[in-house]
């Protein structure tokens, strides 16, 4: 394998990997605040891209993306208010089925609104044949946009959780809801906020990746599964670990193309998911005892 090919694979892996990481982080945010695994997480990514593409018909690109992100955040809040909020201590099974149902509804709605076709946002810089030289490989500048924007999001999130009051409130909810309520934190609003935040980062990732990966009504499911894999691989609940895990998954997937036909690529990431679930469900970085204490 030449250096150039190696770099191509590596960069492709990092690009996809950081997107999986963002979806995984979205899972973690909602899981940390509510204990729910939101199967509809991938749909937020799809909606971000699709909405931005539609809005771009009337708005300049940056505004279209901004508006799309805000719209999807509102949809995230709507999902929480309509379906999650008034449930009275639902069982895990019920939550799983409900979020699956939500994901299906969003997907089918997208199908009827935008059709089956594949679409994409225009490249932020240049067009499909513009390339830059990175690590000996020639890649589209969009790749740098993806990695850059996602990295900024991750950084922003960790600062948010560590240093802002809202962020700390959400952490409090994650650790102990009862105690948080007693401190005057409105746990209900925290839950809505967590949905909005997850939806927002997913949407932005969806916009920024659209020129390279294209957007279609059904990309949500695959992303959700990979995002879940990443969240588990990193140890459910830990966002930094999700980034590492995401990059790992992306790179493994990317390099696997050199040994396995492309059509089987998805099977590889799912096999990885199954392997983790069977042998190390607390993930690479998670703590076994702590994971055992978490309620499912």
């Amino acid at each position: 394998m030449t250096l150039e090919l190696f770099s191509q694979y590596l960069l492709a892996g990092i690009t996809y990997g950081i997107i999986y990481a963002i979806v995984g982080i979205g899972f973690n945010i909602i899981y940390n605040t509510t204990g729910i695994i939101n199967f509809a997480q991938g749909e937020f990514v799809m909606l971000g891209g699709m909405t931005a593409i539609s809005l771009h018909q009337w708005l300049p690109l940056p505004l279209a993306i901004g508006a799309a992100v805000i719209l999807v955040m509102l949809i995230g809040a709507l999902v929480e208010i309509l379906f999650i909020r008034w449930l009275d201590r639902p069982s895990v099974l019920r939550m799983i089925i409900i979020t699956i149902g939500i994901s299906i509804l969003i997907r089918e709605a997208a199908l009827h609104v935008w059709g089956e076709g594949v679409r994409s946002l225009p490249y932020f810089v240049g067009n499909e044949i513009t390339t830059v030289q990175v690590l000996g490989a020639r890649v589209s500048p969009q790749v740098l946009w993806v990695i850059g924007v996602c990295a900024v999001m991750v950084l922003g999130l960790s600062l948010f959780f560590k240093y802002t009051l809202q962020g700390k409130k959400m952490q409090a909810c994650a650790s102990n809801r009862m105690a948080a309520t007693l401190c005057g934190i409105s746990t209900r609003n925290m839950v809505t906020l967590s949905f909005m935040l997850s939806a927002g980062i997913g949407a932005l990732a969806g916009c920024v990746m659209s020129p390279i990966t294209y957007t279609q009504y059904d990309i949500g499911t695959g992303l959700a599964i990979k995002g879940f894999t990443v969240a588990i691989l990193g140890g459910l609940g830990s966002s930094m670990a999700a980034v590492a895990a995401g990059l790992l998954l992306g790179i493994i997937e990317s390099f696997s193309v050199s040994v396995v036909p492309l059509a089987f690529q998805d099977a590889i990431s799912i096999s990885l998911l199954l392997a983790i679930l069977f042998f190390r469900p607390h993930g690479l970085f998670g703590n076994k005892d702590a994971a055992g204490l978490k309620e499912f």
């Binding site: 379906f83 009275d88 409900i98 509804l105 199954l274 499912f296």
Partner: protein, 351 residues
């Protein structure tokens, strides 16, 4: 015995419907009805697993796919090129293969449908045990995701593999002769006998499962669902029971796949896809998780409507919506709803 009342009603209803179609000359309804019976096999097996043993499976269409695709592939793949191979020659000697002729008159060699059926079931059992042992150790989200993952792997393999016809699936699957004069196939002439065969199988399975639920094993399953750790401490090997129930439900799904494939003369990757798995779960949920007959009735209704195209392009959306609505308002299934309790719940201030 009131326990056998639903079964008798089912048999009567099946006969009545057939006579009705003859009377109103709507015999074309028999086809979706027959298909519904086979889909119901998957559903009642899943009901046993989810409702009684308490294990969710989001990938059950995968087992349907294994059964259907294997029997399709084995009965259509021409083994003529491998005639000299020792294994193939042995199969031939044992009478497992059928010598035929393709369209151009060239001799061809395929597997007998019954041999393919047995092969497919054996493979299903092996896969179910292999997957079941690690998967059933998981709980909650992890279990759901693992079963979902399994279903997707089967779907992806079917979609990607030239052996399974890739996106087009496998067609031209021959009929499955069971007895002289009775074959599972889509021939118009055997439409009525196929209808009774399908519903007869389903009735028999309902009888078997009904017995099981009221037996010692059924009690153990309900106990496992109720409180697994305590049940383990009562001397019940909960892991083995969950596994056996999983395999049983997998075999039922697989048999449904085999028979439906022969009936339809083919199979496509969507039969093993997520949407089908979700559909099965939705029907079990709406029928009432631990309600075998509820699942059967709702399944029959919804599948008929779907197969007759009543949902149009909103087919998948309908099942998704059903899933949400049932889980939000009636987690015990339609038969467990109390309207006033539901209304109270909506308007009560939450936490």
């Amino acid at each position: 015995m009131t326990r056998h009342l639903p079964l008798s009603l089912l048999i009567l209803a099946v006969i009545a419907v057939q006579l009705l179609t003859r009377w109103t000359e709507t015999a074309y309804y028999l086809t979706p009805l027959t298909m519904t019976a086979y889909y119901s096999l998957v559903i009642v097996g899943l009901c046993l697993l989810m409702g009684y043993a308490g294990q969710i499976s989001l990938g059950h269409a995968g087992f349907f796919g294994i059964g259907g695709y294997l029997s399709a592939m084995l009965t259509t793949k021409d083994l003529m090129a491998f005639k000299e191979n020792a294994l193939i020659a042995l199969c031939d000697k044992l009478g497992l293969l059928v010598h035929g002729q393709d369209m151009l008159g060239v001799s061809s060699l395929q597997m007998q449908p019954w041999a393919a059926c047995i092969c497919a079931i054996l493979v299903t059992i092996a896969v179910a045990y292999a997957i079941g042992i690690p998967v059933l150790k998981l709980k909650g989200h992890y279990l759901a995701m693992a079963t979902l993952g399994f279903g997707i792997i089967v779907y992806r393999l079917a979609l990607a593999s030239p052996l399974f016809g890739e996106a087009d699936g496998i067609s031209g699957v021959p009929g499955f002769p069971l007895l002289p004069g009775l074959a599972v196939s889509g021939d118009f002439s055997s439409r009525i006998s196929n209808y009774y065969l399908a519903w007869g199988m389903l009735a028999f399975v309902m009888w078997l499962l009904g017995n099981l639920i009221h037996s010692r094993v059924g009690r153990a399953l309900r106990a496992i669902h109720g409180a697994e750790a305590a049940t383990n401490a009562m001397g019940i090997d909960t892991a083995r029971y969950k596994l056996n129930t999983f395999v049983l439900s997998a075999v039922l799904a697989s048999i449904a796949g085999i028979f439906l494939t022969h009936y339809n003369g083919g199979i496509g990757p969507s039969e093993a896809g997520i949407m089908k798995s979700v559909r099965y779960v939705a029907i079990v949920a709406i029928g009432g998780m631990a309600n075998l007959w509820g699942a059967l009735v709702m399944g029959a209704l919804l599948n008929i409507m779907s197969l007759r195209g009543m949902f149009g392009t909103y087919d998948d959306a309908v099942f998704g919506a059903i899933l949400i609505i049932i889980m939000l308002f009636a987690p015990q299934g339609l038969l467990g709803i109390s309207l006033s309790a539901t209304v109270k719940r909506i308007f009560r201030r939450g936490e």
